[in-house]
């Protein structure tokens, strides 16, 4: 059994992986990306993985083969206890990983620029801006052009670039809708950007990637991607909401609360988002935030 050690480990690893994949089944969302950005990010992973396997598969095979062939009990194996150096062989294993890393590095350079979170998606459809505020402990989405806002639910039109502007009025969070794109952090007093586009209608799970306190686990929402006409209807319906979001209602919304149910608002104060960001820029004495510590 000793000698099969490596093979056994590999076998166990593979069977657990297969078992885990079967348990996960259709829920492995990164295997079915549904957005312009996510599709490219996942394709990039697949490419990088293939490049790495060029080196990893030989390492696995060699480790097993060498350990097995040169086991102490094998009298047929050559034993050269003082053989310690071979320029050619060492040159090979400095060079081969080096070449693969050069390939990966060029992919890294181009993909980092192509898929920069701050870079808009170039299409003829104008982008829809959504301002995101991470709160203790819920997500607030403000649609400035539509004059509406939602909490813990997001609706976006398909085939339309979405320009998220993220901030927080709470500790750091990171917005993540795995099937649509990777994460971007949301931080108080700062605005970060994330551009996504949903290709197909559907309900996609969203959550926060950066721990922000006791109610963090409840910062989950569904991103509904709907057709452009359905989006228009949804906006009109939301405009009829009886709840209005202005600085007064925002104050109670921003107070810590956990597992908050989805809610829709009419945006009463178009300057709200800028005010949320800018209040951290004022001197601590004049600030009404708890951040003055």
């Amino acid at each position: 059994m000793n000698r099969y050690l490596f093979l056994i480990i590999l076998g166990i690893m593979a069977s657990i992986a297969l078992f885990a994949l079967s348990l996960g089944g259709s829920h492995i969302v990164l295997f079915s990306p549904q957005g312009y950005i996510a599709k490219r990010e996942v394709a990039l992973m697949a490419l990088a993985l293939r490049l790495m396997l060029i080196i990893v598969i030989p390492v696995f095979a060699l480790t097993f083969a060498i350990a097995w062939h040169y086991r102490a009990g094998n009298a047929k194996a050559r034993y050269l206890p003082n053989w310690e150096h071979n320029r050619l062989e060492e040159a090979i294993w400095w060079a081969v990983p080096f070449l693969i890393i050069i390939a990966l590095a060029s992919i890294t350079w181009t993909s980092s620029h192509a898929l920069d979170s701050y870079k808009g998606i170039a299409t003829s459809t104008p982008a829809l801006e959504i301002d995101v505020v991470a709160l203790d402990w819920k997500w607030l989405f403000i649609y400035p052009a539509q004059r509406i806002a939602t909490v813990n639910t997001l609706t976006i039109p398909t085939g339309t670039p979405i320009a998220f502007k993220l901030t927080a009025d709470a500790p750091m969070n990171a917005l993540w809708i795995p099937q649509l794109s990777g994460q971007e952090m949301a931080m108080p007093g700062m605005v970060t950007e994330l551009h996504i586009e949903a290709d197909a209608p559907g309900a996609y799970h969203g959550l926060s990637g950066n721990y922000s306190g006791a109610g963090f686990a409840g910062m989950q929402f569904t991103a509904h991607a709907v057709s452009k006409s359905a989006f228009g209807a949804w906006v009109a319906e939301t405009r009829m909401s009886t709840s209005t979001l202005d600085r007064v209602t925002y104050a109670s919304l921003a107070a810590p609360s956990e597992n908050v149910a989805p809610e829709r608002y009419v945006l009463g104060d178009p300057g709200l988002y800028t005010w949320i960001v800018m209040k951290y820029m004022t001197p601590p004495a004049a600030s009404s935030t708890p951040a003055s510590g």
Partner: protein
């Protein structure tokens, strides 16, 4: 302000689960104390260990603390796995969010700072000076101070379990969550002071080992004749002395924010939380290599010994080690690609990260070719090595994948990341340390560890690890982020969390196997006694000494002419170097002042946490006072005469 600052009885009353933990800590400590009293071992403990300045003894104490903390950190892991296995849909699980947060924060802090670090320092202390052919580290008293400062930090984390609570911020303690505005309690203060006190101990130990390696080697042992382990420790300690000051300064700035109302990292008032993240990882990434480099060194010794062959490509290994040391300073930004640094910066750090895979890959190939044309014996240390190659390669692949920034965006802070770094640290660091323990145990204690239970532990750890972490890789692809105390039903996560929980239990059974291994080995120690001093057909100088190594290490200073000197002489590849005659030697006298400094540091830190200002002053004064007493003491060494040495030496051989 009362005498006890903000410490009240409320700090002790925290519900049934915490109560159980408090009792466990309390009765555990009392039980150990009672056992020592019963066995009448206090005097022995004081003279032989607590006041010893012998690196080997200090090393053993590091290992004991690491073992205790491994159990604590492991219980935290089991609690987390249990919570996530049940807390789905409307079930909130058995841990409230605040407590769950303490558990994952405690687990991270303990495993990094109080398990992985002391395992590394423990092994270094017991073996490195012997390997280098010297009698002790460069600064024996400083070594004792380092150990006690580290232990004071560990004790502070344990104290937080009993009195008050630990941080709820995650082990990275990102502001503004870790600022007063969001974490007004004592948790973050415990975190800060536990890391500060132990971190200073680590920094001092780093200086000590660099000087030991550079200045204390046996005559003839040039740098390029050092065992590979010494090279990796040198790289690691160079990182310690350059990286730990960054952590100290960062935590210092956070302390100023929390204690004096400053605004380095606050959300408002001109603070910049991104600077904390930046500085934290400027320490944090080198820290990974601080831990993993010495483990690489262990594997180099283990593979060469159990293949009965010279380490292949020594020069390339040295170059690779130093390349990793330098490169590890240039990759930290990959911990926050999602913070909006821009494509140029992200791409640069992504590429630097990938470049580290080259020297690491070279190391793996050199180990493989050390086995090639060797005679491989599948002992416990060798199994840990093979398990390491299997897991580390997978984990490394996951790491390079996340080094591509846009790929990282989709995996950042997901359970895929958690699985990745656990693979690196468990297989890279822990497996290396376990290999080291099995390998050098007879050298330290004079008898070998049970192979049967060692192999069982290996299988439980390896299979358990795969069961616990392969599901986490998959969960990352399923969009699960870390640190969730509950999650919605319908995402399909629950079965995988249950499998991961089972895996954690299997790992726990591995720890039980290790405990049984220790018990069985001590029980059968007469049978397993290492009479030759060279149980594995070793290569380096430590195997030329009797087992256990005498307190003076070498009766006569060895002279080194070639790499692997012991093997070379043993097999007639190098002439027996003429040995010096016996000369009288100086060895450091024991001192209790390290313990006093550690105790005072604990009191100082505890008082800082609870704002007990008089005790802060007292602790600081005692620390300074103890140092002055030491500085004024001129009689710190005892002399062993040449005759005594000759008598000891001929008696043991």
């Amino acid at each position: 302000m009362t005498m006890l600052g903000r410490l009240t009885f409320a700090a002790l009353e925290q519900g049934p689960i915490v109560f159980a933990a408090q009792m466990l800590v309390l009765f555990g400590a009392l039980g150990v104390a009672a056992l020592i009293t019963y066995l009448k071992r206090w005097k022995w403990l004081w003279n032989e260990y607590l006041t010893s300045l012998d690196a080997k003894k200090i090393g053993i104490m590091y290992l004991v603390v690491a073992a205790v903390m491994l159990v604590r950190g492991g219980i935290d892991a089991l609690m987390m796995r249990a919570q996530q296995a049940v807390a789905v849909g409307n079930n909130a699980g058995y841990l409230p969010p605040e407590h769950f947060a303490q558990v994952f924060t405690g687990h991270g802090v303990i495993m990094i700072f109080f398990v992985a670090m002391p395992l590394m320092f423990g092994i270094m202390n017991v073996i490195l000076p012997v390997m280098l052919g010297t009698r002790d580290v460069a600064y024996p008293f400083l070594n004792s101070v380092s150990f006690y400062l580290f232990t004071a930090g560990a004790a502070l984390v344990m104290a937080s379990l009993v009195i008050g609570q630990f941080a709820t911020t995650g082990w990275t303690a990102y502001p503004p969550l870790s600022e007063l505005a969001y974490s007004p309690g004592v948790g973050v203060d415990y975190y800060i002071w536990a890391l500060q006190i132990s971190g200073i101990g680590t920094l001092l130990a780093g200086i000590n080992f660099i000087v030991t390696i550079l200045k204390k080697r046996a005559p003839g042992m040039s740098l390029m004749k050092m065992p590979m382990y010494a090279w990796t420790v040198l790289g690691s300690m160079m990182l310690v002395v350059t990286a730990f000051p960054v952590l100290t300064a960062t935590l210092g700035l956070l302390t100023l924010d929390r204690y004096l109302g400053m605004h380095f990292f606050t959300a408002g008032g001109g603070g910049n939380m991104m600077m904390y993240v930046n500085l934290f990882w400027a320490w944090g990434h080198p820290e990974v290599y601080i831990l993993v480099l010495p483990a690489f060194g262990v594997f180099s010794e283990v593979v060469a010994t159990f293949s009965g062959k010279r380490l292949f490509g020594y020069t390339s290994m040295v170059i690779a080690t130093m390349a990793i040391t330098i490169l590890s300073w240039l990759v930290w930004l990959h911990h926050f690609f999602t913070m909006g640094a821009g494509a140029d910066v992200n791409a640069f750090f992504g590429i630097m990260t990938m470049i580290i895979a080259i020297p690491t890959g070279v190391k793996i190939f050199n180990w493989l070719f050390t086995m090639y044309r060797g005679r491989v014996r599948f002992t416990t240390p060798m199994r840990w090595f093979l398990g390491f190659v299997a897991l580390f390669t997978i984990g490394g692949m996951a790491g390079v994948l996340m080094a591509v920034p846009p790929a990282d965006f989709e995996l950042h802070e997901s359970l895929f990341l958690v699985a990745h770094f656990h693979t690196m640290i468990v297989s890279g660091v822990l497996f290396g340390d376990f290999a080291a323990l099995a390998y050098w145990f007879p050298k330290v204690f004079g008898f070998t560890l049970s192979e049967k239970w060692g192999i069982r532990a290996f299988w439980a750890w390896t299979v358990g690890f795969m069961l616990a972490f392969i599901p986490l890789y998959v969960l990352g692809f399923m969009g699960a982020t870390r640190r969730l105390d509950h999650y919605p039903a319908g995402l399909g996560w629950n079965p995988l969390f249950i499998v991961a929980g089972v895996g954690a239990l299997v790992i726990a059974s591995g720890v039980v196997c290790q405990a049984i291994q220790l018990y069985v080995s001590i029980r059968d120690r007469r049978k397993n006694r290492d009479l030759t001093g060279d149980p594995w057909d070793g290569r380096t100088l430590e195997w030329s000494t009797p087992s256990p190594v005498p307190f003076y290490n070498f009766a006569r200073t060895p002279i080194v002419a070639i790499r692997d000197p012991f093997w070379a002489v043993k097999y007639g590849l190098a002439p027996q170097t003429p040995e010096n005659d016996y000369l009288s030697i100086e060895l450091p006298r024991g001192s209790g002042l390290g313990l006093v400094i550690g105790g005072a540091a604990f009191a100082f830190a505890f008082a800082m946490v609870w704002h007990i200002w008089w005790l802060v002053m007292l602790g600081a004064l005692v620390m300074l006072g103890a140092l002055f007493v030491r500085f004024l003491d001129e009689d710190t060494e005892s002399i062993i005469s040449a005759d005594t040495l000759r008598r000891f030496d001929t008696a043991t051989v």
